[in-house]
């Protein structure tokens, strides 16, 4: 697909002329079908995203006014500078969308939304019964199956005090209602688990022996059973066989995995208690990229921090302020330093994926990265806004790249919520669901239409 930006370049039309107008890509009649799965990387971060920090420094007075008063408008990133914390992605501006004005009130607000921001519901205090539905990442993972299905990584502290977790722990996505996903809480664990078909063949063989043994043992029962009882056991046997087959498939990827195996510093061994924040971020990025490139997964959800993730080792954090205290302060400078460290990782992801050939282009052509806040526009919200960065490749089914997009403000006509955004993703990639996620109560009270995809975003 020739994206909007190319079209604009070709026709010389400016942002003003095309503000809020529909995509013209359909006029070119190019097929978007590449035959490759689409990849998604969701990156969640804490403390919200302050909308003002996403504004472009070179906005015109009119654009500044609209941005400040939260009126809907669009601007072409190509014609503007990026804020300092985003500048490392300058070379990839044509793939970038700065998305302002989405609300996420239904996700609950407060210090955390837990799985709520991924499922467009209020997860309350993260009790199991508060997990209302399968989260968006799992929905998309199902549409683009892969051996590991869905991979979740997390630097979230997961506790009331500052610190890192290690090992495999509970995550913030959900494969189904009332079911919490698990995640890898340190890079070494992620490395050991994802690549063990190459790095620990004994463990893999033993696991396969276990499955083979169970399958054989359960199968022996079948000869004595009939009817629905037989069906129950044969279902179990078939499940064991499927998992075994999946493991074999992973094994068949060993060559590719070995070729793309990341180097992981020994500082990350045993949980990596001495690794700095930047080292952990970097190692997680390396592991994630290797998993994507090897084809082990097409969907990664990455909680890059929560309020208790230690940032004392972050360069520039001279006061060794923690994220919670930062949230209560007005230290925009440090907030931007934190975001800049995240962007550095995104830059690494984009650059690397652009370097891997796929089809007629690169892997990044079939990738979308979504950088989103867990709690709207600040430490305790408000959730009436949730500034988001989207990096999308050439073959994206969304027509939003290269734009600064501000949507209509919350609880007004035309306003779009997190539910609309997720519906857009699902519809764009083949799930025709009418609406995903809970409704916004303010919009409901005002009887404003709020279901369905954001049509403007669809290619």
């Amino acid at each position: 697909m020739i994206n909007r930006r190319h079209f604009l370049k070709a026709t010389g039309l400016g942002a003003g002329g095309l503000a809020l107008s529909p995509s013209f890509s359909h006029l070119f009649g190019q097929s978007t079908e590449t035959g490759h799965p689409h990849r998604f990387i969701f990156i969640r971060k804490s403390n919200g995203n302050v909308p003002g920090t996403f504004s472009l420094p070179t906005f015109s007075e009119e654009e500044k006014r609209k941005d400040k008063e939260k009126e809907a408008f669009e601007a072409d990133l190509d014609k503007h500078e990026l804020p300092d914390w985003l500048k490392c992605l300058e070379a990839h501006k044509e793939n970038m969308t700065i998305l302002q004005g989405l609300s996420m009130k239904m996700a609950g607000g407060g210090h955390y939304s837990f799985s709520g921001c991924m499922g467009a519901y209020s997860a309350g205090r993260n009790v199991i019964s508060g997990i209302k539905r399968r989260t968006i990442d799992f929905e998309l993972a199902e549409m683009f199956p892969s051996p590991f299905g869905h991979v979740e990584l997390s630097l979230a502290a997961g506790g009331g005090t500052v610190g890192y977790r290690t090992g495999i722990v509970s995550g913030f996505s959900a494969p189904a209602a009332h079911q919490r996903n698990y995640c890898y809480a340190d890079p070494q664990t992620a490395y050991d688990e994802l690549f063990k078909s190459v790095t620990n063949s004994k463990a893999v063989n033993t696991q396969n022996n276990l499955l083979d043994y169970l399958r054989e043992k359960e199968s022996r029962q079948l000869s004595k059973l009939n009817g629905s009882e037989r069906g129950k056991i044969s279902s179990h046997v078939e499940s064991l066989a499927s998992i075994r087959a999946r493991n074999s498939k992973v094994l068949s990827l060993s060559g590719v995995i070995a070729k793309n195996l990341p180097a992981i510093d020994k500082i990350h061994a045993n949980g990596g208690e001495d690794a700095t924040l930047v080292e952990k971020q970097g190692a997680f990025t390396d592991v994630m990229l290797a998993a994507l490139i090897s084809g082990l997964t097409n969907l990664v959800t990455y909680t890059i921090d929560d309020l208790n993730t230690p940032i004392d080792t972050l360069p520039g954090n001279t006061g060794k302020v923690d994220l919670h205290r930062l949230g209560h302060s007005k230290d925009i400078k440090l907030r931007n330093i934190v975001k800049a460290s995240h962007m550095a990782q995104i830059e690494k992801m984009v650059t690397k994926l652009k370097s891997v050939p796929e089809g007629n282009g690169s892997m990044f052509d079939n990738t979308t990265i979504i950088y989103m806040p867990e709690t709207g526009a600040g430490h305790h919200g408000p959730d009436t806004e949730a500034p988001t960065i989207v990096m999308s490749g050439q073959n994206s089914k969304l027509d939003i790249a290269g734009r600064y997009l501000r949507l209509a403000p919350h609880a007004t006509e035309g306003h779009k919520t997190l539910g609309n955004w997720y519906t857009t993703l699902l519809n764009a990639y083949g799930n025709p669901v009418a609406h995903y996620g809970d409704l916004d109560t303010d919009m409901t009270r005002k009887k404003l239409a709020q279901t369905g995809a954001i049509k403007r975003f669809l290619a």
Binding site: Q179, K202, N226, I233
Partner: protein
């Protein structure tokens, strides 16, 4: 009658194109012609269906059509009831027999599977079940594996991970069943092992009987269990657990564990004392051997400035030091400060000495840099007096030197001498020593025989008993021994054992219940269950737990062989009151409710599922519609808890249970269930109010208030602590304020002559404070807004300390707000759903699925009531044939809104209809909602289907309806049918007729005892006897 061409009325229709042959007997052809072709042939295709060309269709299309035909005829949807010409029972049976046989040829029939589902249970004719004409049929249940429920899974996991629930109940610490870690300290999920185990056996989120025997283990279950098995195996094979609970495992691992203990001891000793040890060993050489100290480079730390650029106030909140930085770092810093801070030593020198210690120790350079930076930040940004005092108070020091036992000391010293090289940090030396010792220990273990076949055999038996609650067979022992040896050869001993644990956890036996007949069959081919299977069947009927010791003993000792044996055990279990169960953890979590019962949990749970009121959790409500400033979430949790309490209360009384549930006028409203406690709390408030009301307390000065300190202290009035009253000027004003708030609140509750005050808190308090009343589990009682659901007028609420107590405009569970919310939409009531519930649950009726062509949405119109809009939408003939079974019942509940509040007027909630916005003022007595235009409620309906002309007829509202339903024998029988499904895990058949009749008789003869119903069911032939599952054609 339409005539088909002659050649088509013979037995076979010739295949055309790609179709395969179908056989339609002549008799069936006639029937189709009589009853179906008028609407479904070449001239007319109602519903886009043709039935006259089955032979010419593709196989797939034909099978689909036959399935539809089979279902429509079986469920008596076709021919439509309005048609005068209806097939006789025999004719219907003939059509069904033919369609069924055609479908079975291709194993394509869906009806049988559908009929096994709980939502189709009512399709067995009610009249036939209770008439007695089928009472002679031999009752039984098929042999089966029954997948465990989420509750049974939780109990198994709790045992395997040694997670025990404990609560303080009515002042006594007790174990509870049903604590699954939801309420463990953190809300961040996953910090505890228990919370990290995912439950893949969740029952469907629906209202009605949820746990049936027709589910099989799937790949999804298995994937989750693989992940769970790993975590559980890790726990079971951990050192502490195997020592405490798995002696056979411990014996195998003993040598290795002992060696690890030694290594840990040595490592810990070295970490604490290596500087002194090396000094002692190397004497003058020691300093030369140390690595050359290089200081970390750190950025300059600026003084803290405020917004005006002036020096800011120094930090003084020590919680930030200890909660917001790495605990190990703070400990290390405090140790250095403690050790080196002395008179005459500057802070810089202290930092340098501390840093040198870390450097020599071998702490990671980046961590040293970070710590040193933090030390400088503390000195510049923090109140150092406070820090020094804190350092002194915590007194973090190097542990006192205690040498290891002499042989160990010799070993340690020898290793130090051997491995220390110039420039080594202490950690490098320690690492070399540890590696050396690990090697030599490994060599020792390899020579030993700890993992021999006999030891592994004992281990296998131990694990079988713990995990599968039985001993292994000889074959299993042999096979698992070989498997374990293979695991150990590939991994290591501990990991190999963990793999064996995983293997057992992943076997189907853990996740299925087994109910198989054993022994000689009777003349009907029925056999009783084995004693073991029976013990589990009885245990899981009443609880989520494996058989208790008495039941296990009865099974083992041959005392679970007869119907009387079953009766004895069921009665015993029903009578137990010594075990508390958590009803639902979410109810506990949402507002600190107790959510407890001491009757077997499955008894109460039946009514929870049957009525479905816990589903109120799942209905998203816009809290401001409940009332601005009202805490809807806490109120909802309390509401469901109090609904449980009401049901539990009725079950404990066990008299006229169904009638009470449907028509009681007494409810719990903001009460813990403990009448004595509630009275004491209310009395305390009254005592305080009565004491102060004679004073001008509203104008008390601080001094005047202080005069009443003895009384205030005696009554422990929250927020008013007077010990240092006259000295603590800063807090005095706060105390006076909270006193006046309290008294204002008490005056509001008692100032109009009320005899008792509801014991809610006068102002918000942290959950750690008890408040004016505590729950049975000793926590702060919350959720006073629950009274809003019941239309309580707080300005005149004479709080009933003894409950359940009369509440106006309520009758039975169907008028309880929890039930009403569970059967409502987000913003409106749902008469259709409510009516459907009554029809299906209480009148044994059936309602077809919504046709896919129907847009089942009531249109918006903010000038009309819901009833008006609903009647317009569903009044057409096509819709009414189903809706007539639901609407006239559901509309009776329109005297309640979608929060369950009683009303005479329906608010037309739309921005155009606002008369006044929600008041800003807060208060329990304030409605808190905007004022809208309204229209009068019309709740008149019609009851049809009890079979009793004295009860059927027009009804005025839900109160009238509830009264009639409570008197109906059909309603009683319908509830018994659901009870049957719940305890049997399947739908009833005609062969269960005698069981159902006897259960009803047991209820009636025992003054409406639900226990009697349970005993009757669990000692019936339907429960006791098993028969092998029928063969299906693919089995042959």
């Amino acid at each position: 009658m339409k005539l088909l061409p002659l050649f088509l009325t013979t037995c076979s229709l010739i295949a055309m194109a790609s179709a395969s042959p179908i056989t339609i007997p002549a008799k069936v052809t006639d029937l189709l012609d009589n009853y179906c072709y008028d609407c479904h042939d070449e001239d007319t295709q109602k519903g886009d269906l043709r039935l006259d060309q089955l032979g010419s269709q593709t196989l797939e299309a034909r099978l689909n059509l036959l399935n539809k035909l089979q279902e429509q005829v079986f469920f008596q949807e076709m021919p439509p009831k309005k048609k005068k010409r209806q097939p006789t029972e025999n004719e219907r049976a003939a059509i069904l027999k033919w369609a069924g046989s055609e479908l079975k040829k291709h194993k394509a029939s869906r009806l049988e599977e559908k009929l096994k589902r709980s939502e189709y249970g009512n399709y067995i004719d009610h009249q036939k079940l209770f008439s007695g004409e089928y009472a002679k049929l031999p009752a039984f249940t098929h042999d089966r594996r029954w997948l465990i429920s989420e509750f049974i899974f939780n109990d198994k996991i709790n045992k395997l991970v040694n997670h025990e629930g404990v609560r303080t109940i009515d002042g006594t610490r007790q174990t509870v069943i049903g604590d699954n870690g939801v309420n463990l300290g953190t809300r961040f999920g996953g910090s505890s092992l228990r919370q990290s185990i995912t439950n893949p056996f969740l029952l469907p989120a629906k209202i009605g009987v949820r746990y049936y025997d027709n589910t099989a283990l799937t790949g999804g279950h298995l994937l989750t269990m693989i992940s769970n098995a790993r975590k559980i195996a890790g726990h079971i094979t951990s050192e502490t657990i195997m020592k405490a609970h798995y002696p056979a495992m411990h014996r195998i691992m003993e040598m290795e564990l002992s060696q690890r203990e030694t290594l840990r001891s040595r490592e810990s000793f070295l970490e604490d004392h290596i500087p002194a040890l090396l000094q002692d060993l190397f004497k003058k050489q020691h300093q030369d051997l140390l690595p050359t100290f290089t200081r970390a480079q750190i950025d300059k730390i600026e003084v803290l400035l405020d917004k005006k650029g002036q020096a800011a106030k120094l930090q003084d909140n020590l919680e930030l030091i200890h909660g917001r930085y790495d605990a190990e770092d703070i400990k290390a810093i405090y140790r250095g400060l403690n050790e080196y801070s002395q008179d005459g030593v500057s802070y810089q020198e202290v930092v340098e000495k501390t840093e040198k210690d870390w450097f020599e120790h071998g702490i990671n350079p980046k961590r040293i840099q970070s710590r040193v930076t933090l030390m400088m930040i503390i000195s510049k940004h923090w109140d150092m007096d406070l820090i020094r005092k804190d350092v002194q108070k915590r007194n973090v020091t190097r542990p006192a030197f205690r040498p290891l036992p002499e042989p160990e000391m010799a070993t340690v010293k020898a290793a130090l001498k051997k491995h220390r090289k110039k420039g080594d940090t202490y950690l490098q030396v320690i690492a070399k020593c540890m590696a050396d010792w690990e090697q030599s220990f490994l060599a020792e273990r390899e020579k030993s025989d700890s993992g021999n076949a006999e030891a592994l055999g004992n281990l296998i038996e131990e694990l079988y008993l713990k995990i599968l609650e039985r001993k292994p067979t000889a074959t299993e022992s042999r096979d698992e021994l070989a498997l374990t040896q293979d695991y150990i050869a590939n991994l290591d001993l501990q990991s190999g054992i963990a793999k064996l644990v995983e293997t057992l956890i992943l076997s189907s036996e853990l996740v299925y219940r087994y109910e198989f007949g054993q022994g000689p069959a009777d003349q009907d081919g029925r056999r009783m269950m084995s004693a073991r299977d029976a013990s589990y069947a009885l245990a899981f009927a009443l609880t989520d737990n494996s058989p208790d010791p008495e039941l296990t003993a009865a099974a083992r000792e041959g005392r679970l062989e007869t119907r009387e044996d079953y009766r004895r055990e069921v009665k015993r279990m029903l009578a137990r009151r010594d075990q508390f169960y958590i009803i639902q953890e979410r109810v506990q979590k949402d507002g600190f409710n107790s959510s407890l019962t001491n009757t077997p949990i499955r008894k109460l749970r039946f009514f929870r599922e049957f009525f479905g009121y816990p589903a109120a959790f799942n209905i998203f409500k816009d809290a401001p519609r409940f009332g601005n400033h009202a805490n809807y979430l806490d109120a909802r949790g309390r509401l469901i808890d109090e609904a449980d309490m009401l049901v539990d209360h009725i079950l404990q009384n066990d008299t006229m249970v169904f009638e009470e549930l449907l028509s009681t006028e007494k409810f719990y409203t903001y009460h813990t269930g403990n009448n004595a406690d509630m009275k004491a709390s209310a009395d305390r408030i009254k005592t305080i109010y009565d004491y102060f009301k004679k004073y001008d307390w509203e104008n008390f000065t601080e001094e005047e208030l202080y005069e009443h300190w003895p009384f205030i202290n005696k009554m422990k009035m929250r927020g008013t602590v007077f010990r240092n009253f006259m000295k603590d000027e800063k807090r005095r004003k706060g105390w006076v304020r909270s006193f006046k708030s309290t008294m204002t609140s008490f005056a509001f509750r008692l100032g109009k002559g009320q005899k008792a005050a509801a014991p809610y808190n006068s102002f918000p308090q942290h959950y750690s404070h008890k408040g004016n009343a505590s729950t049975r589990t000793g926590q702060q009682m919350r959720g006073v807004d629950v009274a809003k659901f019941f239309n309580v007028d707080h300005t005149h609420w004479d709080y009933p300390v003894t409950q359940p107590a009369q509440v106006p405009h309520r009758r039975g569970i169907l008028t309880h707000p929890a039930w009403l919310i569970a059967h409502s939409l987000n913003l409106e009531t749902d008469p259709v759903r409510r009516g459907k519930w009554v029809r299906e649950k209480l009148l044994a009726g059936t309602i077809p699925d919504v046709p896919i062509t129907v847009d089942a949405v009531v249109p918006e119109d903010h000038h009309r009531t819901l009833r008006m809009r609903l009647e317009e939408k569903t009044g057409e003939n096509y819709c009414w044939k189903c809706h007539e079974r639901m609407n006239p019942l559901g509309i009776a509940f329109e005297i309640y809104d979608d929060f369950g509040r009683f009303r005479l007027q329906e608010r037309l909630e739309h921005p155009d209809n606002i008369i006044a916005p929600a008041p800003k003022e807060r208060g329990l007595h304030i409605d808190g909602r905007p004022t809208y235009k309204t229209l009068p409620v019309n709740a008149k309906g019609h009851l049809r289907g009890t079979g009793d002309p004295a009860l059927d007829g027009d009804i005025t509202d839900a109160l009238d309806l509830a009264q009639r339903l409570a008197q109906s024998s059909k309603v009683r029988q319908s509830i018994i049918r659901y009870t049957f499904r719940y305890f049997m895990g399947r739908n009833e058949n005609l062969s269960d007729s005698k069981t159902l009749i006897e259960a009803e008789q047991a209820y009636l003869k025992n003054k409406g005892s639900f226990d009697a119903v349970i005993i009757s069911l669990l000692t019936s032939d339907s429960f006791i006897y098993r028969k092998p599952a029928p063969l299906e054609s693919h089995d042959q």
